[in-house]
Amino acid sequence: MNHFLIGFSISSLLRRGSKSFFTIFIFTILIFLLSSILFISNSIKEELFITLKSLPQITVQKLQAGRHKNIEISKVDELLKLNGVQSAIPRVWGYYYFERAGVNFSVVGIDSFDKQYKKSFQQIVKDTDFDELSKNNTMVVGVGVKRVLEENYYKDFFNFVKPNGELKKIKIASTFKGSTSLESNDIILMPKDLVLEIFGMSKDEVTDIVLEVANPKEIQTISKKIKNLFPDTRVINNSDLRVSYQNIFDYKSGMFLALFIVSAFTFFMIVYDKASGLSSEEKREIGILKALGWKIDDILKSKFFEAFIVSFISFLSGIILSLFFVYTLQAPILRDIFIGYSRLKPDFDLPFILDFQTLSLLFFLTIPLYIAAIIIPSWRVASMNADEVMR
């Protein structure tokens, strides 16, 4: 490592201070934006996959005219008869729209005798006596729900509006926190019959049925069987969900990338423009170096060192700023791009994820582009005729 050459490159950068600073500044911003988007996307994906893991392997819903309809509870027994199905749990749940706050709550019915399909629910069932709740018209709410209710002056109860217009007052017994922030935010747990009452459902229908299979590899086969058995159903399985989520994220990040590339090219055009229009100062300096015995290759090396230093500084700064922005400040504004406004604004913490793959992706998206942009200008400069310096 020729530390003399490196030192010389650094001093060259400093000599053209404002130009170098400008380049580093813009490059840092670009990397900051890009890495923030990637970090946010990664974190949300992670949150989601954790959530997905606790989702049921197969969910069976009834469709009519392409829309979801409540399914008959009698189907549970028929599904249990299928080979490989370990359990079939009917679920009663729905979305309740709280108009004043403009948000949706997920209302989930719990029957303490049924096996729970979620571990976190299992814990709550153990801790709470749902029969008690049923008798006293009480519910257990998630942390996010509690907050929204409090903001709307509902301290320890809530008035649900039934489909027939009547009010149903239900008291809050306790608050729970799910295993991930996404989970606990908008969920209300209450005894099944209360849910049926609130949504005006009859006793022999349920929202959907979730299945557990003995051998995960059989999920696809069993899903097909169910479709054959009940042609009016929609069968959703775990991996479909995972795949579709991954695709949505990749699509969204892909979109941003496309935008980013456009702005990156603009940036590099500016860089190129600035770089190719060399000041007479610089031209003279290169001429002197050549007269003093520097090869064109040596001058190129020096220019590339300069480019690496600029890239490296921008890369580090961009990423550090981004880490701070995303994980300490929790990425205000930007994260809404991924989350969307339709549901309760989840006030969850983005989990910290930093892996080598993302860093290398960031590297490949930025630094080679910059280096490519300076190849030709650097060469032009380095191979100029030096005899003019004699005049």
Binding site: S253, D297, L300, S360, F364, L365, P368, I371, I375, I376
Partner: protein, 320 residues
Amino acid sequence: MFLTPEIIALYTLDIIFLVFAFFAFVISVQIVRYWDMDSTDERQYKLEKKAILAATIIKYIFVLKIPLLIFFAFTCDKISGVITGAMCAAGVVNSVSFGLELFVFKIINLYVFGFWLALHVKDMADEKLSFTKLKFSIFIVAFILLVIEILYEISFFSSLDIDKIVSCCGTLFSVASSSSFSFIFKIPNPVVVSAFYITFSMLIIANFVKKDSIFLIANILFFIVSILSLILFFGTYIYELPTHHCPFCFLQRDYYYVGYIIYITLFMGTFSGISGSILAMIVPNQKKSFYKTSMIFNIIYVLIVSTYPVVYYIKNGVWL
């Protein structure tokens, strides 16, 4: 077709490579036609400068190709999470009919570009720049190879289909599969292992005799047999599973990333051997230091892959 950020990154770099390699290609054609070291024409001086630009571009591409190959493997690995059936990069690569060809081209191009650079170094050390014309004729071929590789890559990612169920490496790399290279599994293990050590001995002999053409052939054979034996035999000892033949899986953390050391040593050994011999045949009377480099890396490779079956035997008393 879907676009993950990784694929966009690969596409972007592919386009940059295409554009810049094309510049270098144009320069190569000009040099092949008009280069004349004895001329004092303005054109010759311009060509000398352009030659430096072309060399810089080629260096840039080569330096990036190496980490990009690893990044390509990472990307395929990540995509395997979305494609049903694929559990690692191998499944993804084989979900497209020319996936294997693409990968082979990538490796070939690494060797070709690397060789070009070795020739370039020799050229720049020569006062008469005697190899410039040859160098750039070779690049014209390298350019075509690069274009083919990039076109393959672009169509590779666009033909990835998440709805198609693919075979995982477990079934791909087995006798039962019907993929393009499944015939190799018909070769019995003793044959492959003997071939491996025989070609290795050829290397040692060629090293003693110091005859370049023999060393070249020995290295090429050694490379091919090493890959075959790695898939058919040595890999199974790394996995301790007689049916696991995948050449990608041991790049992962579970196997302490040993795959990287294996591939790097094999590449370094065979590359220095192959390019060194070719260069020595073009430029006689050169130092033969490449023999040493090549042998050192090849020996390390042999030691590493041989250790696995030996250790297994010592631990378990039987072969797989």
